[in-house]
């Protein structure tokens, strides 16, 4: 057999191939490692994964905690071993905490895996095993702040709508209220009426992330940004004379309650939320640019949210009629937005253009209080450059100091924001919006309020937002 002429390069080629294979397998091992370490959680939480249900046989579901350790949800084990999920605050955290009886929603669904995982210490585990007891599941410490949540709940009162508060520089969601709510303790018993009840009530719907509303004048933030982009450094030159009704080729645009704002420059038009000014300004805009900007600001797109939400809708194309252009520029028309999305845009402005991903879970801890997993703030990306955010901030401060946001004026801090009174059906009261942040110079809290059929944003939504700022910023 030795007679064959060996190909002198054969061994070298074999080795090269072996190295290549080792490289490919290293990549595959790494891929699996990355999956196990970072991505598996989302996969595990998939409702199709039958394995999680199996975990409930071995572990007593852990608690949901507020940021100060207050219990939002816990499982009580009766003497007969029957487990009941209890929500001490009843309706207060209904939508954000969710329920876990008829399927799972809200945080109960989001952190299902953590609540059913147990990291008790080894000694305790051994005792549990020996006595045949179930292990105690990990507790999930949320970012929710009991005081703010309660304030938001009380301030919204009996009205339908939503209130959300978050830290603009971290994305921590501190409060999320949606009304009308339901009592998660009795979801099972009330199921039929919750599902088949009055459609206007839609009590199971989390209006904060799933309610689509016309943004009304809060959309002027986006229109203004587009105008500023198209007139860099020269938007101050804008002038408008408002007598309460703006007419353009047989189209009449009214300001709220036909108020005449008189002579206005760009900032004053914004502060007064002058519909006439924005309708006329809208006619000048590059419509492709406005659509592009809207999509950059997350319209028609997936939002960085871990709980169920609806995509916001922006439909106007470049060939739109004048009427549609004027309506869209002032936030009416076919544009629809969720309160959470509106808050994200505002939070990005407050955070110099960078949107932090909103998050609800600060850390997971074992029943002994040791942290098992810590969640850190994460940036989603830059929605606008810092200069643009700074220019918008100036406009937003003037809304409070000189314009429609007067209900937020206080000596304790400087608030900034935008009001909106969105028409949705002729003959009905408008939806009242306020979205803003405070303190203006160093934003600590961003808030979005919507009150369905609440009338004027400045008069109805503004004071609700002020209560949250007061509760959070005044010691």
């Amino acid at each position: 057999m030795k007679k064959t002429r060996p190909n002198p390069r054969a061994n070298k080629n074999i080795l090269w191939f072996a190295y290549g294979v080792v490289g490919v397998f290293a990549a595959m091992g790494l891929y699996m490692g990355v999956f196990l370490q970072f991505q598996s959680e989302d996969v595990i939480n998939n409702p199709y994964n039958a394995r999680i249900a199996g975990m409930a046989d071995r572990v007593v579901r852990g608690k949901l905690l507020a940021d100060d350790g207050t219990v939002i949800a816990e499982t009580v084990v009766g003497e007969d071993g029957k487990e009941t999920r209890s929500y001490p605050y009843g309706e207060l955290f209904a939508h954000v905490a969710g329920y876990s009886t008829m399927g799972k929603t809200g945080l109960e669904s989001l952190v299902n895996f953590h609540l059913l995982s147990s990291h008790v210490n080894l000694m305790e585990k051994i005792i549990d095993e020996l006595s045949g007891e179930k292990s105690t599941g990990d507790n999930v410490a949320t970012t929710l702040n009991l005081r703010l949540q309660q304030t938001a709940w009380d301030a919204l009162g009996d009205r339908r709508g939503a209130v959300i508060a978050m830290e603009p520089d971290t994305g921590k969601v501190l409060a999320m209220v949606s009304k009308p709510a339901f009592d998660p303790n009795t979801v099972e018993a009330e199921w039929d009426s919750l599902v088949n009840g009055d459609s206007k009530e839609a009590r199971l719907l989390n209006r904060a992330t799933q309610g689509l509303y016309p943004p009304g004048s809060t959309f002027k933030v986006i229109t203004a940004l587009e105008y500023m982009r198209e007139h860099p450094g020269a938007y101050d030159g804008f002038h408008f004379s408002c007598d309460g009704i703006y007419e353009y080729e047989n189209i009449r645009i009214q300001c709220y309650h036909k108020t005449a704002h008189g002579e206005e420059d760009f900032a004053a038009s914004f502060a007064n939320s002058c519909n006439g000014a924005f309708a006329s300004l809208g006619l000048e805009l590059d419509l492709d640019g406005l659509k592009g900007l809207s999509e950059q600001l997350l319209f028609n797109r997936d939002q960085p949210l871990s709980i169920p939400y609806k995509q916001s809708v922006y439909q106007m194309e470049a060939d739109a009629e004048d009427w549609e252009i004027m309506q869209t520029a002032m936030g009416q028309g076919s544009t629809l937005m969720t309160p959470m999305h509106n808050l994200m845009v505002m939070a990005a402005i407050a955070n110099d253009g960078i949107l932090m991903k909103p998050y609800f879970v600060d850390h997971v801890e074992n029943p002994g209080g040791q942290t098992v997993k810590k969640f850190k703030p994460e940036a989603y990306g830059e929605l606008m450059v810092a200069n643009e955010a700074a220019a918008l901030k100036e406009l937003l401060v003037r809304v409070v100091n000189e314009g429609t946001g007067s209900s937020l004026r206080t000596d304790a801090y400087q608030a900034a924001g935008k009001t909106g009174s969105a028409e949705f059906e002729t003959g009905k009261e408008t939806h009242a919006w306020f979205v803003g942040y405070a303190p203006a110079e160093d934003p600590k809290l961003a808030v979005c309020v919507i009150v369905e059929e609440g009338g004027s944003g400045g008069r109805t939504a503004g004071p609700i937002a002020k209560k949250l700022f007061d509760a959070y910023l005044i010691p």
Partner: protein, 447 residues
């Protein structure tokens, strides 16, 4: 109490396989025979301990005495295999024997957990295969005619593959097996080996253009018949092995590039021509949008691997039975779910270790024929491992091939035994030559 035992042995098992894997690679950096022997002995200690712990968990969980007896039978088999092999062939590669046992041990554990009666059936086949293939190193050493009959290999291989294509039983949309006397038999597993022999004999004779053209045509015929049977995984294995053998035999980058381009073109054509290929690709790119249908397999596999995590759920604590064809194509996911991601990765590294051993032997063989055999079989083996593990972890689209030695299936395990024993035969041959040389040197120095 049972849960506690399960829990503790879960971590011990991971520790043991990690130590085993460590020695597998430490072995390559050792020069002296004594160190190597020690490493191999330690590997065996780890393996037997691991085997014991896992079977203890199995017996505790099922309460079946018969499984304790089954465990005893496995231990006897491993001991016989390890020591008798060494007794008959003095120069055996102990590392390869160890790895064979480790992979089989994992297979028995997982199959017993999934389906004891199948595991016992598999055990009988394994034992029979071990006995039958034990003769192979002897044949390699004595029968030099093996290098002279390329067209027998080729004709036999093509005939078998064509028979399956025309008469085969369909499973999961592919014709893979034929039934003979009640036994279902998968020829493509064996034709892999005859295919490598065919290519090696051809290129051993000559690497002129005419030989290459003829060989390529015959190789293409193999691949096309497999593609026609919808056995895409094996078609890919044959293709890669042929291309790499051609490259090693000729050192011609043009052939490699042209072959790779041709393969890529064929893949694109297959994507457009066959709906089942498109389904696989779609399931790979996004299994989540259609978990009920197209993405079902991939999603179940990822649920298993993900829920198991690094340390696994422990035997009987997971739901591997939710994964389709779990004992064949997706055994890797079941191992990862219950024995842990670390265990699964170690298993993967052990397979790579076997492959590296094959490649080392290939470089040491002087005769081109043997060199190509070792290299070709190594390529067949590692490509198959890559396809099955890549498919289970969603690294690549799933192609439906088995994990050699670990998956359930008689043809697969018999073919793998043949493959490993051919390599073992080459190793023994080489060591024998080296010893002769040493003796000659000693003699000449003595004079």
């Amino acid at each position: 109490m049972t849960n506690l035992v399960v829990e503790v042995s879960r971590y011990l098992i991971i520790l043991l396989i990690a130590i085993y894997t460590y020695y597998n690679f430490r072995f390559f950096s050792m020069k002296d025979q004594e160190g190597r022997d020690l490493a191999c002995s330690r590997q065996l200690v780890c393996m037997f301990m691991l085997h014991f712990l896992a079977n203890m968990v199995i017996v505790l969980n099922t309460g079946l005495e018969s499984l304790a007896l089954f465990y005893g039978a496995q231990v006897i088999f491993f001991l016989c295999y390890i020591y008798l092999y060494r007794f008959f062939y003095r120069n055996v590669s102990r590392l390869l024997v160890n790895n064979t046992c480790m992979l089989l041990c994992t297979s028995f554990i997982m199959l017993t957990r999934l389906n004891p009666s199948r595991a016992m059936r598999q055990f009988v086949i394994v034992a029979a295969a071990a006995v039958i293939t034990w003769i192979i190193p002897l044949i390699i050493d004595r029968v030099w005619q093996l290098a002279k009959i390329p067209w027998i290999y080729c004709g036999l291989g093509l005939a078998l593959l064509s028979a399956v294509c025309l008469l085969g039983n369909t499973s999961y949309g592919a014709q893979l097996s034929i039934s003979i006397g009640g036994f279902s038999f998968q020829p493509s597993e064996f034709v892999k080996i005859s295919f490598v022999f065919f290519v090696a004999t051809m290129f051993y004779r000559s690497t002129d253009f005419k030989t290459i053209a003829v060989t390529t045509a015959a190789a293409a015929a193999h691949v096309l018949v497999l593609a026609a049977s919808r056995d895409l995984g094996n078609a890919l294995i044959y293709f890669v092995s042929y291309l790499m053998m051609l490259f090693v035999a000729t050192s011609n980058w043009f052939y490699l590039g042209a072959g790779a381009a041709g393969g890529a073109g064929a893949a694109v054509a297959a994507y457009h021509m066959f709906s089942h290929v498109r389904r696989r690709i779609q399931a790979w790119r996004d299994p989540w949008s259609d978990v009920d249908d197209i993405g079902y397999q991939a999603a179940q596999s990822l649920f298993a691997i993900g829920t198991g995590g690094w340390f696994g759920m422990g035997l009987y604590q997971g739901m591997p039975e939710k994964i389709p064809v779990v004992d064949k194509d997706f055994i890797f996911s079941a191992v990862s779910e219950e024995l842990g991601g670390i265990y699964a990765l170690c298993l993967l590294f052990i397979c790579v270790g076997c492959f590296l051993q094959f490649m080392l032997i290939a470089t040491k063989m002087q005769a081109m024929f043997y060199k190509l055999i070792a290299f070709g079989l190594g390529t067949v083996y590692i490509t198959q491992v890559f396809l099955t593990v890549g498919g289970a972890t969603k690294f690549i689209p799933s192609t439906g091939v088995t994990l050699p030695f670990v998956s359930y299936g008689g043809s697969s395990v018999l073919a793998t035994f043949i493959l490993f024993n051919i390599i073992q035969g080459l190793y023994i041959l080489k060591r024998g030559e080296e010893e002769e040389d040493e003796k000659d040197q000693a003699k000449s120095q003595g004079q």
